[in-house]
């Protein structure tokens, strides 16, 4: 029996070794140290892209990136940060899982003298030091979404629905930007006003977005447009309009520009997306870290503006060509 325990352990140890030799490929060039990256959720392709671009950018600077999945759990992320500190990493990069609650963990890294870079969400806790932040300019993205909506509805205007997600601050900003553009469009206009008849929770999720849209179509049969704060809820909205045989009549504007969203734009399901640039985020974080190490001055907080992605862009998008 004892032998059995031993052999099982040996087996697991052998497997561990198997894993550690895997990353040996990068180690030939890297020896400057390690960077710990705690991702919001590796189930979301957005953060996988950040992880990949960060890893590539770090490798060319001689650093190895350890990516950990926080799985949207603050406690898990705090543990990961603590482990990064124990491992003596050169820097910690994270997508805060909560704007407030991750504060004490960042403080711990501050006390250990390890620079912390945040990406995507910005931490708002008091008394912490962030060496650099990179995120999307969500307000500007919302403005672009508003412009896209005006563009597609033309001068006729009409009733529109907003699928929001108030739990996430980024999504609140998107709706604010959107509303501002719509309001200035309506100003001094007699005919062709664009009216937001309903603003409900789309959950940032396909099934919740679907249900919310089904209900709204009952309440507002004359809907002409829908703005959904991300691609999954936009796709849910499309499924509902399609089911009600109104897909041709209702224009949908999404947000993000993840692969599924881009594909939907190519197929004409979604009119347009303000797209984010996760690839750029990983690179910019690394640039900031290098500038930090070199003692240069750099922009500590940087928001990358989104750009509008329509069907024409999808036609010439190399990412989509590869897929077909």
């Amino acid at each position: 029996m004892n032998k059995l325990i031993q052999s099982l352990l040996l087996l697991s140890v052998a497997y561990l070794f198997g894993c550690s030799t895997d990353k040996g490929t990068g180690e030939a060039i890297t020896n400057k140290g390690k960077i710990g990256y705690s991702a919001m959720s590796l189930k979301n392709p957005f953060f996988v892209v950040i992880s990949q671009s960060l890893t590539t950018a770090a490798q060319s600077e001689g650093y190895e990136v350890i990516t950990m999945d926080a799985d949207s759990d603050v406690k898990r992320q705090a543990n990961q940060i603590e482990n990064f500190i124990s491992q003596g990493v050169a820097a910690i990069v994270l997508n805060p899982t909560d704007r407030l609650a991750i504060g004490p963990a960042i403080k711990q890294a501050n006390e250990a003298g390890i620079p912390v870079f945040t990406c995507d969400l910005q931490c708002v806790a008091d008394g912490i030091e962030i060496a650099g932040h990179i995120g999307t300019d969500n307000f500007q993205g919302g403005e672009l979404a508003g412009q896209a909506m005006i563009e597609t509805l033309g001068n006729e205007g009409g009733e529109i629905l907003v699928l929001d997600f108030k739990q996430a601050n980024s999504c609140v900003l998107r709706v604010q930007g959107f509303k501002q553009v719509i309001a200035s469009h309506n100003e001094g206009r007699e005919a062709g006003q664009i009216t937001i008849v309903s603003e409900i929770n789309g959950g940032g999720d396909e099934s919740i977005g679907y249900r919310a849209t089904v209900d709204s179509l009952q309440a507002h049969p004359n809907l002409r447009g829908i703005f959904a704060i991300n691609d999954p809820s936009a796709l849910g909205a499309w499924a509902a309009t399609d089911e009600a045989q109104k897909a041709e009549l209702i224009a949908i504007v999404g947000f993000d520009g993840a692969l599924a969203g881009k594909q939907a734009i190519a197929q004409g399901k979604i009119y347009a997306d303000p797209i984010q640039f996760p690839k750029k985020m990983g690179q910019v974080i690394m640039e900031k870290f290098v500038a930090f190490q070199a003692g240069e001055e750099y922009k500590q907080i940087e928001l990358i503006p989104t750009s509008l992605y329509r069907q024409a862009d999808a036609k010439s998008d190399p990412d989509l060509q590869l897929d077909q």
Binding site: A101, G113, A131
Partner: protein, 502 residues
């Protein structure tokens, strides 16, 4: 003492066939065998002391009894072997050693610039270098404490002021800064400047005091919740609501402080009261679970599944969304931040709770009742065990343990997080099962649960330390849980051949 509970549980399956499978079938209580079952059970209460001295010490028995402890130690050894790496000391002792090195290698009067980060530990390190250098006749031209930028600024300023810098004394971390690279040094000074840092040594990064303490600290909430869960599982029940209850305690603490106990102006007493309210709410939910299970005869799985969702929903409602509720009271962090000799309050609390639970389960009638209810509920009832009270108490205790974890969480993150403890129920149950408690009930040890929780914690930490990526971690983590349980089953086969066959 640990053997005593075994003595009880090993007997139960041996009594009759009905004991192992039929705790819910009340029809059996009327039968005569139950009466004999009762007589077999009662001596277990009194016969505990009578049986112990007869047992002989045997190696096989030791291995079987402490198998999980052995697994834990072997795991630690394996992970230590895997995480051997260069350790770069940064403590004052290393600072003194570095200063001596500088004096030896660069003459008696080297001009030294000390470069460190702006942290407490680093300042102590810099101070040690400084004192030792001055004592040995060296010349400290300055201490740059801060970022790479402040280091390079101070270096250029020092040089511009006409002072010589022969050596930069720093630690490994800062020696990797681009500003201290050879090319940058050549840019700012014509004369060569050396960068020195304390020599490194090889040692497992797993096996450092900080890391071991951090494993205990990180897993304390799960381990504390696992105490209550162990009792529940020994009664052949399950409690899926613990993760939600943990969040509920944290959110209730945060909201009651914000809205009812004075907000920003709340004092330590109010904070303690808020903690109490948070835990009380959890105890109440635990009592509701116990009532649903005993009075309404709802299976524990279903009853606690419902409460899990009710409690989670309540968290979101109270918090007004998924964002954490901020606690502005400074006193809130006292509980989590307190420590004795570098050991955090969380660990101390965990140890105290485990010792208490161990004593209760092995030395009190209540403990024996819990085993009796789990072993054979009918026999327990007939022998006068207050089954209903025992079950309700057990779920209250489980809720309370989740409440303790919840207030610790609030104190740690300075917020009430409605999303706290998601899926923790599974980790907690895993800790209990890996610790050797049978999901069939009637069997299990509190200290086994502690070891179970530590095994899971060590695996997770070891995988992180060895740099295994998240996806693989899930596979290994799951597989090791299975291995642990299989080993446990085999162990029973060894000590009790023939019994496990069902």
């Amino acid at each position: 003492m640990i053997d005593e509970t075994d003595g009880l549980t090993e007997k139960t399956p041996a009594e009759t066939g009905l004991t192992a499978e039929a705790p819910a079938e009340t029809g059996l209580t009327a039968e005569v065998p139950a009466e004999t079952g009762l007589t077999a059970e009662v001596p277990a209460e009194t016969g505990l002391t009578a049986e112990a001295p007869i047992k002989k010490w045997s190696l096989k028995k030791q291995i079987v009894d402490h198998g999980m402890l052995l697994v834990l130690l072997l795991l630690c050894a394996a992970i230590s072997a895997l995480t051997v790496t260069d350790i770069h000391p940064e403590d004052p002792a290393a600072g003194r050693q570095l200063a001596k090195l500088a004096l030896q290698e660069y003459g008696t009067q080297p001009n030294v610039l000390i470069v460190v980060r702006d942290t407490e530990a680093d300042r102590a390190f810099a101070q040690a270098i400084n004192d030792e250098l001055i004592a040995g006749g060296g010349n400290v031209v300055g201490i740059a404490s801060g970022t790479p930028r402040s280091a390079i600024l101070q270096l250029t300023q020092t040089l511009a002021a006409g002072e010589n810098v022969d050596v930069i004394a720093t630690h490994h971390f800062a020696s990797q800064w681009e500003v201290l690279s050879a090319s940058r040094r050549a840019q700012v000074s014509d004369k060569p400047i050396k960068v020195i840092s304390p020599p490194s040594y090889r040692w497992p990064s797993f096996l450092t005091k900080n890391n071991l303490l951090s494993i205990l600290n990180q897993n304390a909430p799960i381990a504390i919740m696992a105490i209550g869960m162990t009792l529940v599982i020994i009664t052949a029940g399950i409690d899926l609501s613990v993760g939600s209850l943990m969040a509920l305690a944290a959110v209730v603490t945060a909201v009651s402080l914000r809205d009812y106990l004075g907000g920003v102006d709340a004092n330590g007493g109010s904070v303690a009261l808020a903690f109490g309210i948070g835990m009380l709410v959890c105890a109440v939910v635990g009592a509701v679970a116990g009532l649903l299970i005993t009075v309404f005869k709802i299976p524990p799985f279903v009853a606690t599944l419902g409460l899990m969702m009710v409690a989670r929903g309540a968290c979101y409602i109270l918090a007004g969304g998924a964002d954490a509720v901020k606690i502005d009271v400074p006193a809130i962090s006292t509980l989590y931040d307190a420590s004795v000799l570098g050991v955090s309050s969380q660990i101390i609390l965990m140890v105290i709770l485990f010792i208490t639970a161990h004593v209760v389960m092995t030395h009190t009638p209540f403990g024996r009742y819990v085993y009796a209810v789990g072993g054979n509920v009918s026999a327990a009832r007939l022998s006068g065990v207050p089954v209903m009270a025992v079950l309700i108490t057990v779920y209250i205790v489980c809720g309370l343990c989740a409440g303790v974890a919840g207030v610790l969480d609030a104190s740690h993150f300075l917020t009430g997080r409605p999303k706290a403890g998601e899926f923790y129920e599974l980790q907690v149950i895993a800790a209990v099962v890996v610790g050797g408690t049978s999901l069939m009930g009637g069997e299990g040890k509190i200290l086994g649960t502690l070891i179970g929780a530590l095994i899971l914690g060590v695996i997770q930490n070891g995988l992180n330390m060895a740099g295994v990526d998240s996806y693989r971690q899930m596979v290994i983590y799951g597989a090791l849980i299975l291995v642990a349980v299989v080993v446990d089953q085999l162990k029973k086969k060894v000590i009790n051949p023939g019994v496990v066959s069902d």
